[in-house]
Amino acid sequence: MIALTGATKRYNGTTVLDDVTVEFGDEGITSLIGPNGAGKSTLFGLVGRLIQPDSGSITVDGMDVASASSKDLARTIAVLRQDNTIASRLTVQDLVEFGRFPHSHGRLNQADRVKIDEAIAYLELEELRGRFLDELSGGQRQRAFIAMVVAQDTKYVLLDEPLNNLDLRHMTEMMKLIRRMADELEKKVVVVLHDINFAATYSDRIVAMREGRIVADAACDDIMRPHVLREVYSTEVDVRVIDGKPIALYYS
């Protein structure tokens, strides 16, 4: 269980995360939605111990992220951020090998190699494993990073806007993949999404944030209502049911 208790973060007097108490980890996929600046990435930063909270506590499976060993946490939770630029030229294989670092500490054994091969196969990257990351398309590179996360073999996976810069087909493939990770690999995925229709189609639970607070937290059907979405995004959103699924229309 990832548990935030009264987590607060301020930057120069501006509160970006305001006394947030929430738990993740019961559902396979939890989507985190909300407008820009709602505090979603800050929340990920706190859980991923990149940012220290001004007050409140964050625990992952009972381990306090402020005091627990970084190694133990890295074997329990993986966080993938939005923009992953790497200064060196790495191949896909190199990147996925890094996923084993929390387990192997740089010395890969047979079990590590099996996990690496499995992760590469799972993401269908076999033919690209020798390619350099800067030679890949956006969708392929995103898959390579996900493969690293799969190789890291953690119970919890946090993905910050994994659909960023992907086209229609790759967005759908990515969401199906995340669904499979939750169903087959039994991972507990928390994912930041901007497209609420993707969130509604693929997730088990949606948490909506606004101005540093959690304003709604429920199953998809209860979030996909015009008055809820209007409050979250401060804009008119129409919701229609198409083939039994609620679809939000916010294009006009």
């Binding site: 990149l50 970084s70 951020r81 992953n84 790497i86 060196s88 670092f101």
Partner: protein
């Protein structure tokens, strides 16, 4: 650092051209071995070629120079590669933290206060300890203030380093203007790195610090690789980023301070060897790039010294040649980056 710490691991994955030699060449270990052979050959040539008198005497004197080169190449090569990894920037050198500026300031202040005769007759051991202590203390202060604190930003630290470095340089220049010509000449002389005929005791002290630095670095090689992914991913993979970077900064400052105090400012040359090492090693892994940088440093220093002494018949001034070549190489790096 020796090359035998580098265990044989996976060769680079891409291999378009077949053939035994090509396959061998694709292995970073083979490349480093070749570089090692070149270094040994150059060292042997430098030690035993064109000896006017007693071979033993010449080898002894020249051997000290070769050892000084080895120590300097290790300190500068290793610290520059580590510095690049920490800062995620490959066109910096640790001199941005103001090491060279501080060295100049201390030397000038000494001459300013005690005169050329006082400076030249001062105990070189005391001078070396003073310089190392002041340089390490300065960089230590800089990074505990700006990195260990709440703000902790590498870029802010570098920026403050640049500003302070410029301030020290201006202050040094101002003092140099007030020196009499003889004293000024002594200062100018000390500002050029000189590798020939080092003081054996100082060389031993420097070597101890540099070897200690390497011993700290060897177990951290895998962690250094993870650092190339950047802070967010390194933290996600279980690296205690702040502690690791502080430790690495400490190692870099000690090695750089020790070698600068021994031979003078020579950091610019680290930029050349580090960048050559990245392309030569054919792998991003530090277990290959670090020894490559050190060995390439040896090739540059030995080769440069041989060319100057045997081909051009000059005396000393290796650092002038290195600065000149380094400047051209730096321009090439910047322009190539811009073109991409």
């Amino acid at each position: 650092m020796s090359t035998d710490t580098a265990a044989v691991t996976s060769a680079p994955a891409e291999q378009k051209r077949p053939g035994a030699i090509r396959r061998l060449w694709a292995r970073p270990g083979a490349r480093i071995a070749l570089l090692g052979i070149v270094v040994v050959a150059l060292a042997a040539f430098y030690l035993f070629y064109d000896v006017p008198g007693s071979l033993l005497f010449a080898a002894k004197i020249r051997g000290l120079t070769v050892l000084a080169m080895l120590v300097v190449a290790t300190a500068v090569g290793a610290s520059t590669v580590v510095f690049h990894t920490i800062t995620q920037n490959r066109i910096l050198t640790p001199s941005i933290m103001g090491f060279d500026a501080f060295y100049g300031l201390i030397t000038t202040v000494m001459v300013f206060l005690f005169g050329a005769s006082g400076f030249l007759s001062a105990d070189s051991m005391t001078l070396w300890i003073l310089q190392v202590a002041v340089m390490v203390a300065f960089s230590g202060l800089l990074f505990t203030w700006l990195f260990a604190g709440k703000r902790r930003s590498i870029h802010l630290m570098l920026l403050v380093g640049i500003v302070l470095g410029t301030f020290f340089r201006s202050f040094t220049e101002w003092m140099q203007r007030m020196l009499d010509p003889l004293d000024f000449q002594v200062v100018t002389d000390a500002m050029f790195a000189s590798l020939t005929r080092p003081d054996p005791t100082l060389l031993a002290f420097t070597a101890v610090l540099v070897v200690a630095g390497c011993l700290v670095l060897v177990p951290l090689l895998a962690k250094l690789d993870v650092l190339t992914l950047g802070e967010p991913m390194a933290v996600g993979l279980g690296i205690d980023h702040r502690r690791l970077v502080m430790l690495l900064f400490l190692v870099v400052s000690v090695m750089v301070a020790a070698s600068t105090a021994l031979v003078g400012p020579i950091l610019f040359f680290g930029l050349i060897v580090a960048n050559l090492a990245y392309s030569y090693a054919g792998s991003f892994r530090h277990r290959w790039t670090l020894p490559s940088a050190v060995l390439l440093g040896m090739v540059c220093l030995l080769g440069g010294q041989i060319i100057i002494e045997q081909l051009l018949g000059w005396n000393g001034t290796l650092s002038t040649v290195i600065e000149f070549a380094g400047g051209l190489f730096f321009l090439y790096l910047v322009l190539r980056k811009g073109a991409r």
